[in-house]
């Protein structure tokens, strides 16, 4: 009998937020740009007329040239800039994704436990974070690179290892404020144990600010990666990243400005998009604090 009654599907807070995000034009455009650039960086290299690492001695540092299929020109050793930019975007996004995943996983669990359990455990856990925070990041990366050699995996780890610290602090603050809410007390009265409470009640309720922070971390990580690559600590030739391309372009900017302009513009568009998306997500999740 009860089965005959139609059940009304409720709208969760996430669905509400999605709805609000969809009405924010800047955020939607930013999201589409990000999806477009990502898709292009994945599919583009196959479709492009030139591989990313072939040296074309006949076409050294030429301006954009549609006739020969160099849409954005070539670099100082005659490699197709368009494909190289797509590869650069790929690497940058991969680094961003990996570093963010690492920081999310460690940061959320660490922060939620410290914040919810509190007391001495919290003190100890947060002092560890403070100590790691005080290590100079560049120094840390340089030492890693010197000891283990230049390696892109290592860079993922190094970035992730640094980014989770901030994440843990944000999550801990959220967990501490959630801890005193009545529904947590209700869960204790319902017999829920600490791990269950953290998993079922604390973590889902602090994801809002975390998502916002993630959309703002991604551009930051991309920027740091570009900076490391610019310094020569990033990816190795013939692979490339946006930072490397910009660094090479900067050397030639008087004679071949396109070598600087195109990678720099790509980076700028990517960063803008992430920042707009981040703002949009924040507004969507928390319509009160616009």
């Amino acid at each position: 009998m009860t089965a005959a009654v139609e059940q009304v599907a409720g709208r969760s807070l996430w669905q509400d937020a999605q709805h609000r995000l969809r009405r924010n034009r800047a955020a939607v455009i930013a999201l589409m740009l990000i999806i477009g650039i990502t898709a292009l960086s994945i599919v583009g290299p196959w479709a492009a007329p030139h591989p990313y690492d072939t040296l074309n001695y006949d076409f050294i540092a030429i301006a954009p040239n549609l006739a020969h299929g160099f849409f954005l020109g070539t670099d100082a050793v005659g490699r197709d800039l368009f494909v190289r930019i797509l590869y650069g975007v790929r690497i940058s996004l991969m680094v961003a994704l990996a570093a963010t995943t690492v920081s999310l996983t460690i940061g959320i669990v660490y922060g939620a436990v410290a914040g919810y359990v509190g007391g001495r455990l919290d003190e100890a856990m947060m002092r560890v974070v403070d100590v790691l925070y005080s290590l100079p990041f560049m120094f840390f990366v340089i030492i890693l690179m010197v000891v283990f050699g230049r390696n892109i995996i290592l860079m993922f780890l190094a970035l992730g290892a640094v980014e989770w610290l901030t994440m843990a602090r944000i999550v801990r603050g959220q967990a501490m404020s959630l801890k005193n809410r009545e529904f947590i007390e209700a869960a204790i009265a319902a017999g829920a144990r600490t791990p269950t409470i953290i998993r079922r009640h604390i973590i889902p309720n602090l994801l809002g600010p975390v998502v916002v922070y993630v959309t703002l971390t991604i551009p930051q990580v991309i920027l740091v990666e570009s900076f490391l690559s610019f310094l020569g600590l990033g990816v190795q030739e013939p692979l490339t990243s946006l930072g490397v391309l910009i660094s090479e372009g900067a050397d030639e900017m008087e004679t071949a400005p396109w070598m600087l302009i195109f990678p720099a513009a790509t980076l700028a568009v990517l960063l803008f998009s992430f920042n707009f998306l981040g703002d949009g997500v924040r507004d969507a999740l928390d319509p009160k604090d616009r």
């Binding site: 009654v5 009304v8 409720g10 809410r181 529904f183 007390e185 209700a186 869960a187 204790i188 009265a189």
Partner: protein, 329 residues
């Protein structure tokens, strides 16, 4: 008389509070509940009344060990709860549940109400199968007047009164013997208050529940409670059956409280007993009788000797006042 299911003996809850900053500061005990004793029978409703900050909610939470009591005993069917370890206490939670003051805040906004109501079952009766759990949730929803098709909705889609019904459904789903109601209606509209109070009374009759009804609203307490306990600064001032307390209050504080209840009739001359001054700080409670600073009958004796709870009659009416006999008229 039915059996006693809960006996609270000399319960004390003290919170350490740091006064003054830095090295010069010291830690004082804030005596939120200071030596409260009472007993509760099966199927009975005991009201706990008092001003804000008198320790009503703390008392309720300490019984459930949501806050650890500093001293005293909580005997549940003869077994002391205060000395149980966490795991054993968890098993006892099946028999005692709580309803909170703020209906929306006590529901996790990320869960559907089906998941919220199922949580105590999931934790305390893990052997139930999915379908059985679902049936129990729907049964609890029906009992509190929620439609079964609402099961997949989220708390923010409900009104305050409906949220409180969800809270009640969560409390009764494990079929407890005792529900502690921590000001369950004070956040609701008056029209909804009546519905929720009547719902609680119906549930009590149908399920044989004992209720510990914490409230500051005396008219609600008079309506629902069999006996009433009056708290002031964490101590018991008076304990009596509802009728005796409202017809013949013995303690000057109870008298003042009852006279402050508005009478909904403009023809009746209403002259409440006004209490002077503010509630003293629970960090530095007055010596002797804690109420003496605001009591118009206070004498030197009140400042020196802490009054014990005395029997007024054979019916279980108890009062803690040195002068109750003189001021009886």
């Amino acid at each position: 008389m039915s059996e006693t299911i809960l006996r609270v003996e000399d319960m004390k809850v003290h919170f350490p509070v740091r006064v003054g900053a830095g090295w010069g500061g010291k830690t004082l005990p804030l005596k939120a509940v200071d030596g409260v004793s009472f007993l509760l029978r099966r199927g009975e409703t005991l009201g706990i009344v008092g001003e804000s900050g008198c320790g009503k909610s703390t008392l309720g939470r300490a019984i459930l060990r949501l806050i650890d009591p500093t001293a005293g005993q909580v005997a549940w069917l003869g077994e002391d709860l205060a000395s149980l370890d966490k795991a054993a206490m968890r098993q006892k939670r099946r028999q005692m549940q709580i309803i909170f003051q703020d209906p929306l805040a006590s529901l996790d906004p990320r869960l559907t109400i089906g998941e919220i109501i199922a949580e105590p079952l999931r934790e305390l009766e893990p052997t139930l199968k999915r379908a059985e759990r679902r049936a129990r949730v729907e049964d609890a929803m029906a009992r509190v007047g929620l439609l079964p098709q609402m099961i997949n909705r989220y708390p923010h889609e409900f009104s305050g009164g409906q949220c409180q019904r969800i809270g009640i459904a969560r409390a009764i789903v494990v079929r407890p013997a005792l529900i502690i109601c921590d000001e369950p209606v004070s956040a609701l509209d008056v029209s909804v208050q009546a519905q929720v109070v009547n719902l609680l009374m119906d549930l009590q009759r149908d399920l044989g529940l004992s209720l510990l009804f914490i409230s500051h609203d005396l008219s609600v307490v008079r309506h629902i409670c069999h006996r009433v306990l009056v708290l002031y600064l964490g101590r018991v001032m008076e304990l009596a059956s509802s009728r005796a307390l409202f017809d013949q209050p013995r303690h000057p504080y109870t008298k003042a409280l009852i006279s402050a209840v508005p009478i909904p009739d403009p023809e009746v001359a209403h002259r409440p007993i006004l209490l002077e001054g503010d509630l003293p700080s629970p960090l530095a409670p007055p010596s002797g009788c804690v109420f003496r600073t605001r009591c118009r009958y206070a004498t030197d004796k009140c400042a020196q000797i802490r009054p014990a709870l005395e029997d007024v009659d054979a019916g279980g009416h108890q009062v803690s006042c040195h002068h109750w006999k003189e001021i009886a008229s």
